[in-house]
């Protein structure tokens, strides 16, 4: 490994002519050159598309094509329909319930990993065990709930065998329950990782100090650990809330197309080629998400937390 270092890095062996004075570019220029590819990608594939959506949201559409125009009819239609409000309400409901569940589970798991496991190897192995599903397909993970929750699925069979119910429960699959279950299944990880990350940086002596001063386990948790873990909780919250609010596929698949959220409103319009109407809904969704994040960001400085 290290021999590569010696062959080229020692320039102009000592004794020969001093190296030509190089003109050093300023940090500003070099910085921008290095950041240029990232900037270009984000401009072309993030900023421009958002601008395009905002523009198209004022256009009008026929059954076959979209026509440039400047009309508010998409927004008027959107805000004039009671469906919109119901769907936004449902979206917030999914986000809130999923947030509460992922926070409770994620915090407990992170706490266990950070404070109860003493061997670092075991800790890393367990942490990886929690993160690996993140690198596998979300759609497959949704599909895999079907044999579990279906009418004749494992859950119903078990409950019947135990004598707890006489008839299979109908609300296990294709319901709000299955939608939220899938969200929790998919996104708890986004809580575990940032919370674990902040917990690992808590100075253990603070916790010992709390115990030494006679604090109980619960008191230490509430007055020491939770306040110090807040930044991780906020980052996890931002992830979970935005993922759930922007989702359309989980709701469609896990509810068997019986439930709706804003993302599905957009994707339905898209499948009907009603792009301007989809764009208008998308703009409202984006503003909603940004407002929520804006509020959450008041509680945490992300850049400091990495």
């Amino acid at each position: 490994m290290t021999d590569t270092l010696t062959e080229t890095t020692a320039p102009a062996a000592a004794g020969t002519a001093p190296p030509k004075p190089r003109r050093r570019l300023s940090d500003n220029v070099v910085g921008w050159l290095e950041a240029l590819p990232l900037t270009l990608i984000l401009l072309c594939f993030l900023v421009a598309p958002i601008i395009m959506i905002v523009i198209v949201s004022f256009w009008t559409a026929t059954e076959f094509s979209i026509i440039p125009a400047f009309t508010f009819e998409n927004y008027q239609y959107l805000f004039g329909s009671s469906v919109t409000y119901r769907v936004f309400l449902a979206t917030f409901k999914y986000a809130l319930i999923t947030w509460a569940c992922t926070l409770a589970i994620g915090f407990t798991v992170a706490y266990y990993l950070a404070f109860c496991i003493r061997s670092q190897t075991v800790q890393i192995a367990m942490f990886l065990l929690c993160t690996i599903p993140f690198w596998t397909s979300n759609i497959i993970r949704m599909i895999s709930w079907i044999p579990f929750l279906g009418r004749n699925g494992i859950a119903n069979q078990t409950l019947i065998d135990l004598g707890l119910i006489d008839q299979p429960l109908e609300w296990l699959l294709y319901s709000d329950f299955s939608v939220i279950l899938a969200f929790v299944h998919l996104y708890t990880l986004f809580m575990v990782v940032p919370i674990f990350n902040t917990m690992m940086r808590i100075d253990k002596s603070l916790i010992e100090a709390a115990y030494d001063n006679g604090a109980s386990g619960i008191q230490t948790l509430i007055h020491v650990i939770i306040p110090l873990t807040k930044p991780g909780i906020m980052i996890g919250t931002i992830f979970v809330i935005t993922l759930v609010m922007g989702d359309f596929i989980t709701v469609r698949f896990m509810s068997g197309s019986q439930k709706a959220n804003v993302g599905r409103l957009i994707s339905n319009d898209i499948s009907l080629l009603q792009y301007p109407s989809a764009a208008a809904t998308a703009v409202v969704l984006l503003l909603t998400v940004l407002i929520v994040i804006g509020i959450l960001l008041r509680f945490v400085n992300i850049r400091k937390e990495l």
């Binding site: 320039p11 690198w135 992830f239 764009a279």
Partner: protein, 278 residues
């Protein structure tokens, strides 16, 4: 040290249940994909067979899943390389105070939190309005990068925040140019983290659905193909496909983790050469 904190065993049970919750469903479809030819989408197993795996290789039964797999694999590699290169460059940039760095940082975070369907819709609209051909390797690649790059960048931030600058200063004191310092000092030190970035780049692309939906054009990637199957396939063949792709993901993750572990070990062995002279 002293005794386990109270509640340790309760928490252990909780953690075990959480892991079961994470992996249980996947294991279930893994078992069910070996369903006999007469079997359905749920238990009981009607015999054990490779019938449904065999079905995957019959073109007419499931559509073009092998073509979709090839495209997803190629796209995953493209996204992986682009993510590693661009994230490292941007990571280096953010160590300097350049004007507008705050703005670029928040733009990257925005890329992470803006709903995927907006990116998909917007990129699709731009390409159609400009008369460009929507194709997984152009519009699809760009749309996926808006998801993988922020992750890459966050990892680079974490890496450089813990980076010991004295190594670079030492190199510079010895007369290394900036490029030489990066090539021979910085990159070798951060190499294991780059594997992490590569893993994120590949797997996130390989499984990406929402951002590819309207940007893949006429040829589907694997997740799109699988999603298409969920609406019209009602046999365990979909479990067989799910089992295979998940096994493939595990294989990729395994290879990456092994490489990281191996490099770390090798490093520990070759460790420091201080005092050995040049």
């Amino acid at each position: 040290m002293d005794k386990r904190p109270r509640g340790f065993y309760a928490l252990t049970v909780f953690f075990a249940l959480f892991v079961l919750f994470l992996y249980g469903p996947t294991i279930t479809i893994g078992i069910l994909s070996f369903q006999g030819p007469g079997g359905g989408l749920t238990f009981p197993m009607r015999g054990v067979s490779l019938h449904w795996f065999h079905d995957l290789f019959e073109q007419q039964a499931v559509g073009d899943i092998w073509g979709a797999f090839r495209r997803s694999f190629a796209l995953g590699l493209m996204v992986m390389v682009a993510t590693v290169v661009i994230s490292v460059m941007a990571g280096l940039a953010f160590r300097k105070r350049f004007r507008g760095s705050g703005f670029l940082f928040y733009l990257s975070i925005a890329s992470l939190v803006i709903p995927s369907i907006l990116v998909s819709l917007g990129v699709g609209l731009i390409f159609t309005q400009l008369g460009l051909k929507i194709h997984w390797a152009t519009s699809g690649l760009g749309a996926q990068l808006t998801w993988t790059l922020p992750f890459g960048l966050l990892i680079m931030f974490a890496v450089f925040n813990r980076f010991d600058k004295s190594f670079e200063e030492a190199a510079r004191d010895q007369g290394a140019t900036s490029w030489q310092t990066i090539r021979h000092v910085v990159l070798p030190i951060i190499a294991p983290s780059l594997l992490g970035v590569a893993l994120f780049g590949f797997t996130l692309s390989y499984d990406e659905f929402a951002r590819t939906l309207l940007t893949a054009g006429s040829y589907n990637t694997l997740p799109l193909e699988i999603f298409g199957m969920t609406t019209n396939v009602t046999t365990p063949v979909i479990y067989a496909l799910g089992t295979l792709t998940t096994a493939f993901s595990f294989l990729i993750i395994g290879v990456f983790l092994f490489t990281v572990w191996f490099t770390a070990k090798r490093r520990a062995r070759h460790g420091s050469d201080a005092g050995k002279g040049v």
